[in-house]
Every structure is written in structure tokens, then in C-alpha cells.
């Protein structure tokens, strides 16, 4: 590998960075070799721990000058390899930029550095009566910069929207190292929705170094229900009925028997024994609404043979219910040596048939699948369990996992609802999009990062050459011939 470019970057930035910012030691670099998707590992050529927008601009500017790829990393909790480093590139560690710069409840805004931990912002905003609505399961460790990059959702995004709905401004360091202010405190700015495309661009359009977020009023009342069902089918039908009753819960989560077993072993969350599925339903809003809605939810659940219905009476009980759900991924580690977390989306109404097909796939591949999902919006997290030490099992699990994604696509769904494409799913993109679709997305990439230096190799299976002349179509015009169009 040609390291002279890295040397050039280092020489350029070293005089301007504080001691400790630059990591060259191989063992220390190795600690950054993967994010939350540990199967993909690459040791970065250089690691820079930045503390300011200026340092990011300096580093990225040097990368641009010497044509060196760079990857931004927040807390490294991503599940698609989005922060997987580049072997010949610079890993820019943002977790050292973790100051909350301002909280303004009156304006319903906060300004944060990208390394700020999601939950810390809510904890700081709570005393003023506000919180930051996006709540991925990793919220106690994941960073807001990472949330912006991945457009993170979480259990409550059905009602409150994704990260993109809670960002009103950012400071962006472009792939050339320029600092651009986008948006601000006001709710709307004129022109193209740059914030909309930056959110969820997985670090491929530059690096966000400051974020203005919208804070949400803490609701007057919150009610969390844990409801046991005989089967996922019954639970799924209850979800449909709750939603067609006109209720928009803050969250509706489902876990199947295997996922319940795992969670029980891991965190003793005391879920109903022997249930084939549980629903976690959270209602929030004005107290009177929550009271009325709770009765409807309970009635609809009973219509579908609900067993135990537990209503959390305080924050401790609520916490325990959520602990079972939010620790589900890690919990399956208790019942299986290895597992793959999948993240497919289907139209919610297809839940029953899709779950049946998943269990067929699992049988055919000889693996077990535990299911956890955001049932309100059809986002499935099948956990494919396997033992990597048994020959052939890893391949079987990967096959099962891939077939589940194909299944989601055949139902008109998506290959990822919230974990992102990253390096993990780039190869699946052509199954969901045509070449023209992918090319069009990359036209946007070319506007932001023509040299493909910002997190290259992610999202797209093959990069598009920028500056390519757009494809031209040719041929006779059928519309004019058919008399439907007239030229003037």
C-alpha cells in the first residue's frame, strides 16, 4: 500500500493539532477497526481525534489535497459497517466533540456537537420539559452525529418522525474541506432540502460538525402496556386493529417467543411466561387522550385473545418493560454463540405471511430466527442465530439473512429501515433499485464529493464517475406520432 499520501496528510496537519489528536500507533489504530458490525474489520491508516470544526476542515482539506479517503466515526455503534475504516484512509473520530452548546426550551432548539450521546441531550433537556425524540435502542451510547448520518429512528419514530424531522441546521465540512452552514434556528430555509439529503447519507456527503436539533415537549402522560399473545399472528392482528381504531401510539413493538426467551435470560424483564408473542405499546400525549386510548388498546388486544395485560404503573416498571425490548439484540447472545441482526421493512399489513415465510426460510436453512420488530411501521429485526464454530453454519445464516431481505423486497419493502446500507448491504442495493435509480443518487454524490473521498465504498455497490455526460436516449417520438403531443 502506498503510504506516501498519508504521510503528506500527516505532515500537513500535524503542526496544527494538539498532542494526542493524532493516532499512529498500530495497536491503538486497531481499536477502531470496526463499528457495531464486527464482521467487517479494517485498520485505518491514520486516526485523528478532532475537537473542533476547524480541525475537521483542516484534516478533510488535507485529505482532499492528497486524494486520501476519510471516514467519520461517532460512537461506532452502527450496525451496517457505515463507520468501517478505509485501510489507506484517515478515520476521523468525532466522539471527542461532545459538548452540548446550547439548550433553548423557548425556541425548542438545542445546538450540539456531533459526538454528544443521544440520551445525554434528552437528560439535559428534561428539566426544562423537553427531550430529543429520536431514540434508537443504542441511545445511551450512540452519538447525534451518527444519528444524522444514519437518519436514525427508534421505537418512537412512527409518531414523531426520524432524525431528519428533528434537525433544523448543521455545520457541514464538505469533501473539499470547506465549512458550510446549512439551515439554522428557523423552521424553514429556502432552496433545496440539503438537510434532508444529508440526513441518512451515511457520511458520504461530508462531515457534520455541529447540529441544531428540534426539541420535543415531554408529554403530559405516558402509558406503557405489555401484552402477551398466543402467537405473532394474533399480536399482528391486534396491531392492525389498534391502528385502524384511529390510534397513533408513540410505539408498538413486538417480540416473538425466542426473542422473549433471550431477553428474559439476559435482563430478567419478567415478560409473560409462555407467551408466543408480546406487544409493547406506548401511548403518550394529553392525559385524557392516553386514558381513552388505553381502554381501546386493551379492548382490541382482548379481541385477539390477549393473555396477560400489564400496564406499567411507574417509571421503574416502564423501564423494565423497555429494557427487555431494547436489550433484545444483545440478549440473543445468551441463547446463541453468534447472530446476525437483520433490518428489513415490509408493508405492515403483510406481517403474518412474512413471518410464516421467515420461519420456512429458517427451517430450510437449518438456523433459528428470533424476531423483534417495530410492528407499527413494519420494520423487522429478525435475529438469525447460529454457531460460527460449526462448519458451514455461518454461510447458512448468511443465506437465511439474504433470503429474508429478498422476501422483504418481494413484498414491496426495503432492505433497511434504520440501520443503514453501509458496507454491509451495498451489494443488495441493485436488488431494490435499478441502475438508473442508483446512478441518479450518485449524481447527488457528485455534487458533494466528486472525488469519492468521503466514506468511499459505502451505500453504493459501484461508484459512478463524476462528470460523465448524462445518458442520452434516442429514437422517434411516439407521442407526436400518436397525436398526443404537439411541438410549437
Amino acid at each position: 500500500m502506498d503510504m506516501s499520501s498519508i504521510e503528506s496528510v500527516l505532515t500537513r496537519i500535524e503542526p496544527h493539532l494538539p498532542p494526542g489528536a493524532i493516532v499512529t500507533d498500530e495497536n491503538e489504530r486497531k481499536t477502531y477497526e470496526c463499528d457495531g458490525l464486527a464482521v467487517h474489520r479494517t485498520v485505518p491508516a491514520l486516526v485523528i481525534r478532532v475537537t473542533s470544526t476547524a480541525e475537521v476542515a483542516l484534516t478533510v482539506g488535507a485529505c482532499h489535497e492528497f486524494d486520501v479517503p476519510f471516514v467519520a466515526r461517532g460512537s461506532g455503534t452502527g450496525l451496517s459497517g457505515g463507520a468501517q475504516p478505509h485501510a489507506e484512509g484517515v478515520l476521523i473520530v468525532m466522539s471527542t466533540m461532545r459538548d452540548i452548546l446550547d439548550i433553548d426550551p423557548l425556541a425548542q432548539r438545542a445546538i450540539v456537537q456531533p459526538g454528544v450521546i443521544n440520551l445525554n441531550l434528552s437528560n439535559e433537556a428534561n428539566p426544562g420539559g423537553y427531550y430529543f425524540a429520536p431514540d434508537p435502542s443504542s441511545q445511551s451510547v450512540c452519538s447525534i452525529g451518527g444519528n444524522v448520518a444514519e437518519n436514525s429512528g427508534g421505537a418512537h419514530c412512527l409518531k414523531y418522525g426520524f432524525t431528519t424531522n428533528h434537525v433544523t441546521g448543521v455545520t457541514l465540512v464538505t469533501a473539499r474541506g470547506d465549512i458550510v452552514e446549512i439551515g439554522g434556528d428557523a423552521p424553514e430555509y429556502p432552496g433545496y432540502d440539503l438537510l434532508g439529503v444529508l440526513c441518512g447519507s451515511e457520511g458520504t456527503l461530508g462531515i457534520v460538525t455541529e447540529v441544531t436539533v428540534r426539541l420535543t415537549r415531554l408529554p403530559e402522560a405516558v402509558e406503557t402496556l405489555l401484552i402477551g399473545f398466543e402467537s405473532t399472528d394474533a399480536a399482528g392482528e391486534a396491531v392492525s386493529d389498534i391502528i385502524s381504531a384511529g390510534i397513533m401510539p408513540a410505539a408498538i413493538e413486538m417480540m416473538d417467543a425466542l426473542a422473549i426467551e433471550a431477553a428474559e435470560k439476559a435482563v430478567a424483564c419478567n415478560y409473560p411466561e409462555g407467551a408466543g408473542a408480546v406487544l409493547v405499546v406506548e401511548l403518550d400525549g394529553p392525559a385524557i387522550d392516553v386514558d381513552l386510548e388505553r381502554e381501546t388498546v386493551i379492548a382490541r388486544a382482548k379481541d385477539h385473545g390477549a393473555g396477560e395485560i400489564r400496564v406499567a404503573v411507574d417509571n421503574v416498571e416502564r423501564g423494565l418493560i423497555w429494557k427487555g425490548r431494547k436489550s433484545a439484540f444483545a440478549a440473543v447472545g445468551r441463547i446463541s454463540p453468534d447472530y446476525i441482526v437483520q433490518d428489513g421493512v415490509i408493508p405492515r399489513s403483510r406481517l403474518g405471511p412474512v413471518l410464516a415465510s421467515i420461519s420456512t426460510i429458517a427451517e430450510e436453512c437449518g438456523v433459528r430466527v428470533a424476531n423483534v420488530f417495530h410492528a407499527g411501521d413494519g420494520n423487522l429485526h429478525p435475529l438469525v442465530l447460529f454457531d460460527g464454530s460449526v462448519e458451514g453454519q455461518t454461510e447458512l445464516a448468511e443465506t437465511a439473512s439474504g433470503r429474508i431481505l429478498d422476501l422483504c423486497l418481494s413484498e414491496g419493502g426495503s432492505i433497511t429501515g434504520e440501520h443503514g446500507v453501509g458496507s454491509d448491504k451495498a451489494k443488495f442495493m441493485p436488488r431494490m433499485f435499478t441502475n438508473d435509480d442508483l446512478d441518479t443518487m450518485q449524481i447527488l454524490r457528485c455534487a458533494f464529493d466528486p472525488n469519492h473521498l468521503s466514506n468511499p465504498g459505502k451505500v453504493f455497490p459501484t461508484p459512478r464517475l463524476c462528470g460523465e455526460p448524462p445518458r442520452r436516449t434516442s429514437g422517434e417520438h411516439p407521442l407526436q406520432a400518436a397525436g398526443k403531443a404537439e411541438l410549437f
Binding site: V197, C199, P347, G413
Partner: protein, 376 residues
């Protein structure tokens, strides 16, 4: 002029115009024709009325997919068969005049319910667009949650037809609320507190006629029992507050020669309202203010008897002195003469990137030339 009946026909038309270097303008319902600078006479005008099919309606999934030429009113009627409605709120005056799905998205149309509903950009789940060279591309999908690839649906939302022509789109639906209730509170001072209160309003609008006093109207929606109780709690919390019916101006833009769209940090809303009254006194021109207390207002400048150019310039310059981090003020609607005589856009954050995006998507500048912000 052409009226394609399918995405393929649309693509053929655009590809041909591209080969012939003809500029293209798109006509939906014509309800935003007076907004933004008038385009130059296009080489090809495309009427989207033929692309008005409902492609998919799934009440169980709360989604609706339709051609860009379908009207918002038609789509709401379709949604109503499932006791639902389109999730975002639209301006009633445009909906009544035949505003289309594609037009509403391209112009980022929005109604008063900015608090209780997710904004349009968040509920356009996917789009199919025809690019400047005729390429058909789709982005997003038809499921509520989806982060696969760039969110081009958001890029197209509010692009005024300058990046591609929206052929169809998937939108989220919402259970139709049982009822709505309105409370009027004199003045603008209470607005922020109501937004931050536990009555969870769907909309808080401030309206001030030229020379008059501002008034705040709060809308709550939901179950009948809840709406009754929440409107009551607003009435008892604010002196002078009283229940009212939907005001005649609700979701309708002020009629004035010039409309300025001002977006401001919510914390500065009371200051903005006060400032407009002072400006009106100082420059002697009537200014109508109407909009959401979340911080987006339409300012109607002038009357039919006088040239609004100078007043427009003064208001823009004055507001912009607050700084773009806090406020943005642009001309939304004005007579042709005014566009040339005032700085209609001001400083647009990220405009350099926007120009690059435009150049990449439409290098020959054929799509809706002059209709986008800042001349894009």
C-alpha cells in the same frame, strides 16, 4: 404543449426536449403559478393531468401511491374511504383550486397543522421522477421506514421542478380525527406558551390584519371528549380566550400584491409580530401577517393602489438584519416588476451546494428555468 398519459410517455417527451435543447415547464393544478418568478416561455409545457391515477391505496398500511397529476382533493376523498386522510396538512385555498400531488410536493405546500402533523417532506415516502434527459428514476419506496440510499424524495420536495419532474409519489395517511376544535386568544403573546403546553395543539396560527390587533387561533384535534376538554383548558387558561369556529382565513394565504415568506426561530415569533406592526407605522404601508406560531409566516405587503416595491425592499432588509441563523425572508409572490427590483432571496445558506446540485442534475438548464429559488 403535451399531456402524457404514462411515466414512459413523460420520459419520451422529456428525452426529446433534451435532444432538442428545449426548456420545459410543468403544469399541475396551476395553483402556484403566481408564486416565485414567472418562468420564461418554455419550449415545452407539460400538463400532468393525464398522470392522475391512484396506483395503490392501502389503508392497513396507511399509504397511498398516486400519479403526480392527481389532485389533493381527489386523494383525500380516496383516503376517506378508509376513514383516513393525507397525513400532511395542505393550504386550503390551493387544495380548493385543484392543487395536485406533484405540484404540492414540488412547491413544498404546507397548511397550518405544523405541530400535530409531520411535514410533507417527511411523509413523501418515495417518488418516481423523470430527469432532465428523460431517465426514469425512483427513490425511497412505499414503506414508512426506509433508509436505503439517498433520500431524493426530499431533494425533489420544494425543488420547484428544477431538478426533475415528479411523476408519482407515495404518501403516508393518517386516521381521520373525530373532530377539531378552535380557540381564539387575543394578541400573539400566548402563542408560544400554548405550543409548549400540554394541550398538544395541532396548529397555532397568528393572524394580524393591516393596522389591526394580532389574534391567535389554536386548533386541537382528536377524540370528541378530548377536544372538548382541551379547548376548555385553553379557554380557562387565557383571559379573553373563547371557543370559535374555523376562521374564514384558516389555511388561506393573505391576498396582497406581494407576499414575503418569513421563517423565524419560534422564540422570536412575538418579536416578529411586534416588529411588523412597527414597520407598518414607519413606512406607511399596510402589512398583513398570517402564519404558524412555529415560526413560518406570510407577510402580505401593500394594497392595490400603490407600488409595493419600496415597502417590500424595506421589510426584507429590515428582517434580514436579524441574521440568517434566526430568520430567513424571501419573496414568495410578487408582480413581475418587483422581482427585478428587490433582492428576492437574500443570503441562502448552502446556495453554492444547491447550484452544484442543479448543474449535476440539469447541466443544460432545461428544467423550469428561473422558477427555483435564487434563480436556480
Amino acid at each position: 404543449m403535451a399531456r402524457p398519459e404514462s411515466v414512459e410517455e413523460l420520459s419520451e417527451l422529456v428525452a426529446r426536449a433534451h435532444r432538442e435543447s428545449r426548456t420545459i415547464a410543468v403544469y399541475g393544478g396551476g395553483t402556484a403559478l403566481d408564486d416565485h418568478p414567472p418562468g420564461h416561455t418554455p419550449g415545452l409545457l407539460i400538463d400532468m393531468g393525464g398522470l392522475n391515477q391512484v396506483i395503490e391505496h392501502s389503508p392497513g398500511d396507511l399509504i397511498l401511491v398516486a400519479g403526480a397529476g392527481a389532485t389533493i382533493a381527489e386523494l383525500n376523498a380516496v383516503a376517506e374511504t378508509g376513514d383516513q386522510e393525507l397525513l400532511p396538512d395542505f393550504p386550503a385555498d390551493r387544495t380548493d383550486s385543484g392543487s395536485t400531488l406533484g405540484g404540492a410536493i414540488a412547491t413544498r405546500a404546507v397548511g397550518p397543522r405544523r405541530i400535530g402533523r409531520l411535514p410533507l417532506r417527511e411523509v413523501v415516502l418515495g417518488v418516481t421522477v423523470v430527469l432532465a434527459d428523460g431517465t426514469i428514476a425512483k427513490a425511497g419506496g412505499k414503506v414508512v421506514k426506509n433508509v436505503a440510499g439517498y433520500d431524493l424524495a426530499k431533494l425533489m420536495t420544494g425543488s420547484w421542478g428544477t431538478l426533475g419532474i415528479i411523476a408519482s409519489a407515495a404518501l403516508r395517511l393518517y386516521p381521520k380525527p373525530q373532530t377539531q376544535g378552535y380557540v381564539e386568544i387575543p394578541g400573539a403573546e400566548a402563542a408560544l406558551e400554548v405550543i409548549g403546553s400540554q394541550v398538544a395543539p395541532a396548529a397555532v396560527e397568528i393572524d394580524r390584519s393591516p393596522g389591526g390587533q394580532a389574534s391567535t387561533v389554536v386548533m386541537v384535534e382528536g377524540l370528541e371528549e378530548s377536544v372538548a376538554s382541551r379547548t376548555e383548558s385553553i379557554v380557562s387558561a387565557y383571559p379573553g380566550a373563547q371557543r370559535c369556529v374555523e376562521p374564514s382565513w384558516w389555511a388561506r394565504r393573505a391576498q396582497a400584491p406581494v407576499t414575503i415568506r418569513a421563517s423565524v426561530s419560534p422564540a422570536l415569533v412575538p418579536q416578529l409580530v411586534g416588529e411588523i406592526a412597527r414597520l407598518e407605522d414607519t413606512i406607511g404601508y399596510p402589512i398583513q401577517l398570517r402564519g404558524s406560531a412555529m415560526g413560518v409566516f406570510d407577510l402580505g405587503i401593500g394594497d392595490l393602489d400603490s407600488d409595493p416595491t419600496i415597502a417590500t425592499r424595506v421589510v426584507l432588509e429590515h428582517l434580514r438584519s436579524w441574521g440568517q441563523k434566526q430568520l430567513s425572508a424571501t419573496v414568495l409572490c410578487a408582480p413581475a416588476s418587483v422581482w427585478g427590483d428587490v433582492d428576492a432571496w437574500g443570503e441562502i445558506p448552502g446556495v453554492g451546494l444547491m447550484r452544484t446540485i442543479k448543474d449535476q442534475f440539469d447541466p443544460d438548464g432545461l428544467l423550469s428555468p428561473g422558477r427555483g429559488i435564487g434563480g436556480l
